[in-house]
Amino acid sequence: MAKYQLNINGQRKEVSVDPSTPLLWVLREDLKMTGTKYGCGVSACGACTVHVAGVATRSCMLPISLLGDRPVVTIEAMKDDPVGRVVQDAWVEQDVVQCGYCQSGQIMTAVALLKHTPRPTDTNIDESMGGNICRCATYVRIREAIKVASQKLK
């Protein structure tokens, strides 16, 4: 076990965990922030996506010992994020979710896309969102919601 000082959603947190523990499980079990989801554990589905120093990152394969002092932002902070809130509202307006389990990761990926590329093309959307699995396959509505959010962010 080792102690780590973390910056999660702008708050300082201290955890004592095995250094190999992925950020995902520190969030879910030590910090009780379960909005970030476990889907595969091998960076293949994107359900665990968070922002690490502003970059959409798979938290399931990032050992806590390699996080360093980089700030982490999770789905729980999106309602207070100017882009995050617009994206969440677009998701609700477009009735995107079905089972909803992957949507934290979809939204975190979409927010990162829109912060970087406010007016994404279909190709931009495919490239950015193309690593996130939605097993319900709500992809058509995810795409529409990203376009709606993009319009509102103008």
Partner: protein, 736 residues
């Protein structure tokens, strides 16, 4: 599970239902419907749990604070029933929709499916089976509120009207439901009640957004895997690499030395096998410790299934007649057809995993002669019974909470409840401590319970008019029902879930012969969203398309001509498809082709047109138009969503790595790197969904989107490449 529907339709007529009413501790009107079910035990099925004593045994609770709490007798796992069933009830109740709160009901007799007789989600039956039930519940509750108001005003109830949770009297008086709720709970429940005419619906038939969107978008919704209880431990299990293998010996020295590991022990797992459970404070600890276990497995007497061996065996079997499913007309007619008028087609389908996004999990706590369980379950009745059996308790001693589930597609409807049994075995050892069993994604992908592998061999004789004159069809695949409590539904050894979609085809084929072989294979199999239709629709719709092409007839016109007139839903869907897709199908860019399919399943008729090109040796799906006849569309927004996304799910079996294969008993895929479901670039860019207007009773929409998409896509590919695609998955696609 469509077969189950047929079996129990008759029983439903004999069933009496009655309502009970009670005042609650919280105050207000609480209405519970109790079904008087025949004991399924007498039919050779699983015994019913004893009469319930689980709170809360209610469907609707009109609270003095104005909120209307509606219990949903189903699992919500994406299909939208947690919104649609409350819509049905709230509509008849004339409740203020903004005040409606939906809750998932725990396991209890009163929440059993009125047709299937167990508490479950499957067979696309949630709306189809509970439409009438939820309407009556809403209407009866409304009648009691109206009677209460009428009594206070000394007027006749039929002088009152209701709207937005308010009763209005004849002289401008009004009471909010919240002001009537406590008195209304003392009213007798009316035996009969008038239901609305469809023209009076205020919610049903309107596009209503889901109730669970916001919490699913802000991370606050708790799925089963997110459960956190005081003192809870987490368990993982090292499963045998071959189904049914046993632990010969294991060295847990290093595993136990891992800080945070609480216990390591052997437990029984599915198919008579055993595994090693690790209990730890946290998941990562348990998972790391599992990696450190050294296990010697005993494979004695365990069949090692092998996909290539099965493929050869199935293909041989398909050349022989199987158990009779349908024998219509002249069985020998096919033999008199000249080779030039004969199509002989062999199809291969692989095992498919469901791989729901939320990995399988169950939490159990055992406290003396009581236990509590939490799981996203499609089969609450079976899962509760299984936990009770493992613990030596009666089902009613196990409180079973239905947790919101991250997908399922059939994977949470398991008759042997193997995940719940594992969880109960582990929790039994840790009495008083809640334990959450987590199946990792690797456990899931390698854990069996797949859509069975199938081979179809079809001989089609073509008549002078270009229509099929004789059809001989042999299907080979493991039975889903054999050895389960549903085995009683098999008739003369035939499992309808293997032949559905072929045996009950609406195409008018005079000499029609269908038979099936059900080999026993050491791979657990399970219904996968749309069950037999996953492969049967593919075979039928690609062959019909080939026939249409040979006859040089438009694929929609050919289907219309071949369908029986009584196939009203399919014909209506095809007409609507023609109207909505003709314009874009006539103006396709170079390198694109249109593909057509139609299929009826679970009582819903679907027709589909796709616009496909080839990019990087893969089909690129630019557009899908779907026409649906599902009777009354309770929530057209949900129907649209189910079809838009359901066709994406249906593409799973076309993916280049969209299969599970076994070699020497071992599953060759481990995670989403080996089994690759559709990602956004694989899915259609746009899907437009059109619903046939209807006043008929609603039919299912969860499964019917799945069967149509794969045949439509390969029918388009056939136009681009000249090839017919009979073996899935679709590895590469290119023109010669």
């Amino acid at each position: 599970m469509s077969a189950a529907t047929k079996k129990t339709d008759d029983q439903q007529l004999n069933r009496r239902s009655f309502l009970r009413v009670s005042a609650t501790a919280a105050g207000g009107l609480l209405l519970a419907l109790t079904l008087d079910l025949p004991a399924t035990a007498q039919e050779g099925g699983p015994p019913n749990p004893q009469q319930k004593n689980y709170p809360p045994d209610a469907f609707v609770h009109v609270r003095p604070d104005g909120r209307v709490i509606i219990q949903v007798n189903r699992l919500e796992f994406g299909q939208g029933v947690q919104t649609a069933l409350p819509m049905i009830l709230a509509d008849e109740l004339d409740a203020d929709w903004s005040q409606v709160v939906a809750e998932l009901a725990p396991a209890a007799d009163i929440y059993k499916d009125p047709v299937f007789g167990i508490q479950m989600v499957g067979g696309s039956g949630s709306i189809a089976h509970s439409f009438q039930q939820y309407r009556e519940l809403g209407a009866k509750t409304r009648a009691m509120l109206v009677a209460t108001a009428a009594k206070r005003w000394n007027v006749a109830p039929d002088q009152c009207r209701t709207e937005q949770s308010v009763v209005h009297g004849p002289n401008g008086q009004s009471f909010k439901y919240s002001e009537l709720a406590i008195d209304a709970s003392r009213q007798p429940v009316p035996a009969t009640v008038r239901l609305k005419n469809p023209s009076e619906f205020r919610l049903v038939g309107k596009k209503v957004r889901r109730l669970d969107s916001r919490p699913k978008c802000d991370g606050s919704l708790k799925f089963g895997l997110d459960l956190d209880l005081p003192g809870m431990k987490v368990a993982v299990v090292a499963h045998p690499p071959v189904f049914g293998a046993k632990v010969r010996s294991f060295d847990d020295h290093q595993a136990r030395a891992t800080e945070g590991v609480r216990d390591v022990f052997e437990i029984p797992v599915t198919r008579g096998g055993t595994g090693v459970a690790i209990v730890a404070d946290k998941f990562w600890t348990a998972k790391r410790a599992r990696d450190l276990l050294k296990i010697e497995w005993d494979f004695n007497g365990v069949e090692r299934a092998d996909s290539s061996e099965l493929r050869e065996r199935y293909k041989q079997l398909a050349r022989t007649a199987g158990l009779k499913s349908v024998a219509r007309g002249d069985a020998k007619a096919i033999e008199g057809i000249a080779a030039s008028n004969l199509i002989v087609a062999e199809y291969e389908f692989q095992y498919l995993p469901h791989a729901p996004m939320e990995p399988l999990n169950t939490t159990v706590r055992v406290d003396g002669d009581r236990a509590e369980a939490w799981a996203g379950s499609q089969f609450q009745t079976f899962d509760q019974m299984a936990i009770a059996e493992v613990l030596g308790l009666k089902p009613e001693q196990v409180t079973f909470h239905t947790e919101m589930a991250g997908g399922g597609f059939g994977r949470r409807a398991v008759t042997d409840s193997h995940v719940q049994r594992e969880a109960a075995q582990i929790a039994r050892r840790l009495r008083g401590t809640p334990v959450k069993l987590i199946w990792t994604r690797e456990d899931d992908i390698r854990g069996g319970y797949y859509r069975p592998m199938h081979v179809h061999r079809v001989e089609v004789g073509i008549g002078a008019d270009g229509m099929p004159s004789a059809w001989r069809h042999v299907i080979v695949g493991q039975s889903l029902l054999a050895g389960t409590p549903f085995a009683m539904m098999m008739k003369d050894g035939v499992d309808n879930s293997s032949v559905e979609g072929v045996s009950d085809t609406h195409y008018n084929i005079p000499n029609f012969n269908v038979s099936v072989h059900h080999p026993a294979v050491n791979v657990p199999v399970l219904w996968w969203r749309s069950v037999g239709h996953t492969h049967s629709a593919y075979v039928m719709e690609t062959l019909i398309d080939e026939l249409a092409a040979r006859a040089k007839t438009d694929p929609i016109a050919y289907r219309r001509k071949l369908l029986k007139p009584e196939a009203k839903k399919l014909l209506a869907a095809l007409d609507l498809l023609e109207a909505k897709s003709a314009a874009w199908r006539r103006k396709l860019p170079k390198g694109h082709a249109a593909g057509i399919s139609c299929h009826e399943s679970f009582g819903t008729g679907v027709a589909c047109a796709v616009d496909v090109s080839i990019e990087n040796k893969r089909p690129k799906i630019h557009r899908v138009t779907v026409a649906v006849d599902c009777g009354i569309a309770v929530n057209p927004l949900t129907v649209e969503s189910q079809f838009q996304a359901g066709v994406g799910f249906g593409l799973s079996q076309l993916m280049a790595k969209g299969a599970i294969t076994l070699h020497d008993g071992l599953v060759e895929q481990r995670n989403f790197d080996g089994y690759v479901p559709p990602y956004m670039p694989d899915a259609p860019v746009a899907v437009d969904v059109h619903i046939v207007p209807s006043a008929e009773a609603p039919s299912g929409c969860g499964e019917p989107p799945v069967p149509v998409i794969s045949p439509a896509v390969v029918n388009a590919l056939a136009r681009l490449t000249g090839k017919r695609y009979r073996s899935l998955p679709l590895v590469t696609v290119q023109a010669d």
